[in-house]
Amino acid sequence: MIGSAADKGTGEGSGAEAVHVEFEDVAKSYDGRTMAVQGFDLRVRRGEFVTLLGPSGSGKTTILTMLAGFQAPTSGVIRIDGSRVDDLPPRRRGIGMVFQNYALFPHMSVEENLAFPLEVRGLARAECRERVGSALRLVRLEGLEKRRPGQLSGGQQQRVAIARALVFEPSLVLMDEPLGALDRRLREEMQYEIRRIHRELAVTVVYVTHDQEEAMVLSERIAVLRAGAVEQIAGPEALYEEPERSFVADFIGENNHLDGTVIAVDGDFCEVEVGRERVRALRIVECEPGDRVTLSIRPERVAVNPDPGLYQNQVGGTIRDVAFVGDHLRVRMAACGVSNLVAKIPNVAGHGGVLVGDTVRIAWTVTDCRALNFEPMQD
């Protein structure tokens, strides 16, 4: 499994006691035919922030609901603190959960919402009040105790939902697209709040989102999911710099996606023909001459009209579009048989302006060009 290989690659904590949550070959099918999740392996260390990232339908929410106990896996094992949780109902799993759209009880005040998990546990009134107070301080909502959720802004509701998931001091917190309903600015602010809270409380967080930027900002590790299976599990930097699947390269950040055919293989490198050009690439996927592969090159690593001799990979192309985006120029070029090869030219002195229609030399370092599994370009 690619996922578990990537786990080892990022150097997971070794001691067994460090593992908090463990999925072992978990699969889920709702109708007995199509698999919502399959072959899912993941080990989350205590205190770690792991995000399940993927487009809708990738199975990330299903995984979360299985962990929370709302659904049972069709096969496979889920362990929390080393013991199987198959038969534990949600209330016995000790998991704090932040729901999509918050699921705050509309008929209860903020205070009552927060006290709910404490009262059902039979805590004394005084202790309830104290814990509710400190949870409100944690999310900086002092003074809104008596409000109903309907009287709060989206961001405030979000904070209440997080406080409610934390107030009974679970060691594991699940968050299901918690920021999806917020506008961009609020979302950024809440991302920093969530980071701060995670640091302060040292809880384990399993987070679900389809927003790759959010995942990058928040997570220590990200599991990229697609159609119910893991594509790659790695830290944000590794996912961006060293994608191992072309889906991951496309999904995380901007990417130039070039389909080509392997001509020659040479250790860790390979020659690939794209369009009428031949380029050298890092050989990430197992391939033989004649195989189809997909090359991935980040736009900021593409140089336009560089000093001659700096780069091993050089191709010719034509500028089709130039957009000024402040800190950089976005240039779209026809090259290597595609019409949308993108380069980001930093806006620094002497960047050498280009005009639409110019014929240019396009170049990149061999190690910035990764030969990945073949995946036809989708448009």
Binding site: A68, G69, F70, P89, P90, R91, R93, I95, G96, M97, F99, Q100, N101, A103, F105, P106, H107, F116, P117, V120, R121, R164, F168
Partner: protein, 397 residues
């Protein structure tokens, strides 16, 4: 802005025919009936001079001679223009027996042309020498009166003007009113107990099955009331399906067959069946709007199923519970046809009494007063609900 107000005016304009329809067929008759409950001009219209003469009377002993004279003349006149029957009935409602007194007197007085009228009338009927007769005439001659409401509340006005309750054995309406309220309340509770789980089942079913279940709930709506009621008769009668079944499995003996119909049991069973959709639909519409996430949230926060229900689900369904209960209760209070058909004598409700006074005894004033009391009761309930829960939270779907 002006475009919006034009839109609104047009919408109001299109609703005008309905408004007119409601005013003509509902509001106006209702108002007329309510007026009738306090406005009873039959006696004063037929005996105007008698009444005005009696109004000068101090109430002690017998009224003055001119009252006798006016009464004698007006009775004869009323007989002549055939309005005597109405007067006689109106008087008879105030004091039993006056109908025959009046008819006999009118007939006998036709031949009498001269006073003294006091003696003449006493000769025709001894009731005229009794001051209570004249008090009754005066009471019946009030154009605006609360006596229908007093009657509907089993009260009466004594000759000295004070209020008193009817003797125990003559109290009819209050016990019937309480019985109606109690039966309606129990039907509402039974509907709630039966309908709540069903509404929940429909709310959590996938759309296809939910539609099928809803259709089944609505079947009583689509069936003629008479067919439904007849079906209950077939099922519940002494030789009916239910009793046959019970006898067949030995739960009751052949001679111990249960009386399930033509009594209160029949009324309650049939009305619960008829009114169940009015409970299920508002409940369903409220439950349908409760995201399943709330219950998930409750259980992930540590609540046992019973706690999650009591603290989260039940409070969220209260608008539906209130709407359904109120709806069923109000409809049950006014229910007429089902108790009339399957209630027998012990299963009658207040509306059957209203119908009796409308159709048989022709005491429309009393019928209107009974209706007015029911209307006031329902409105009071509505206000109470508004205070407790808030009408804007009524989930009527």
């Amino acid at each position: 802005m002006s475009h919006q107000s034009r839109e609104r005016r047009r919408a109001v304009g299109l609703a005008l025919p309905l408004l007119l329809f409601i005013v003509v067929t509902f509001v106006a008759p209702l108002a007329a009936m309510l007026v009738r409950s306090i406005h009873d001009p039959a006696v004063v219209d037929a005996l105007p001079e008698t009444i005005s003469a009696l109004e000068g009377w101090d109430g002690q002993g017998l009224p003055p001679e001119e009252a006798f004279a006016a009464m004698a003349r007006e009775l004869v006149d009323a007989r002549a223009d055939r309005s005597l029957g109405k007067v006689a009935s109106a008087l008879n409602r105030v004091q039993g027996g006056l109908r025959s007194v009046v008819s006999r007197s009118a007939r006998s007085l036709e031949g009498v042309s001269e006073g003294p009228w006091r003696e003449a009338m006493a000769g025709v009927h001894e009731a005229w020498s009794d001051p209570t007769t004249w008090h009754a005439v005066l009471a019946a001659g009030q154009r605006f009166t609360l006596r229908h409401y007093l009657g509907a509340l089993d009260m009466r006005r004594l000759p000295d003007g004070s209020l008193a309750r009817q003797p125990e054995d003559r109290r009819i309406y209050l016990p019937l009113l309480w019985r109606t309220l109690a039966v309606s309340a129990s039907i509402a509770v039974i509907c709630l107990v039966l309908g709540y789980p069903l509404a929940h089942l429909i709310a959590i079913s996938p759309p296809g099955r939910a539609n099928l279940l809803l259709a089944l709930v609505l079947v009583p709506f689509w069936t003629s009331l008479l067919v439904r009621t007849t079906a209950w008769i077939v099922l519940l009668q002494r030789q009916g399906v239910v009793n046959d079944l019970l006898a067949a499995i030995g739960l009751v003996g052949e001679d111990g067959r249960l009386a399930l119909i033509y009594n209160m049991t029949g009324t309650v069973v049939a009305m619960t069946h008829v009114l169940l959709p009015f409970m299920v639909l508002p409940l369903y519409s409220v439950m349908h709007g409760i995201p399943p996430q709330y219950m998930r949230a409750a259980s992930s926060l540590g609540a046992r199923p019973a706690q999650a229900f009591a603290r989260v689900y039940w409070p969220l369904t209260l608008p539906g519970v209130g709407a359904g209960t109120l709806l069923v209760f109000i409809l049950a209070i006014g229910y007429y046809i089902t108790p009339a058909l399957v209630g027998g004598s012990s299963g009658q409700l207040i509306s059957n009494m209203v119908a009796y006074h409308m159709q048989t005894s022709l005491n429309w004033g009393l019928a209107a007063a009974l209706g007015g009391i029911m209307l006031a009761g329902v409105l009071a309930l509505y206000v109470l609900y508004d205070r407790l829960v808030g009408v804007e939270r009524l989930g009527l779907g």
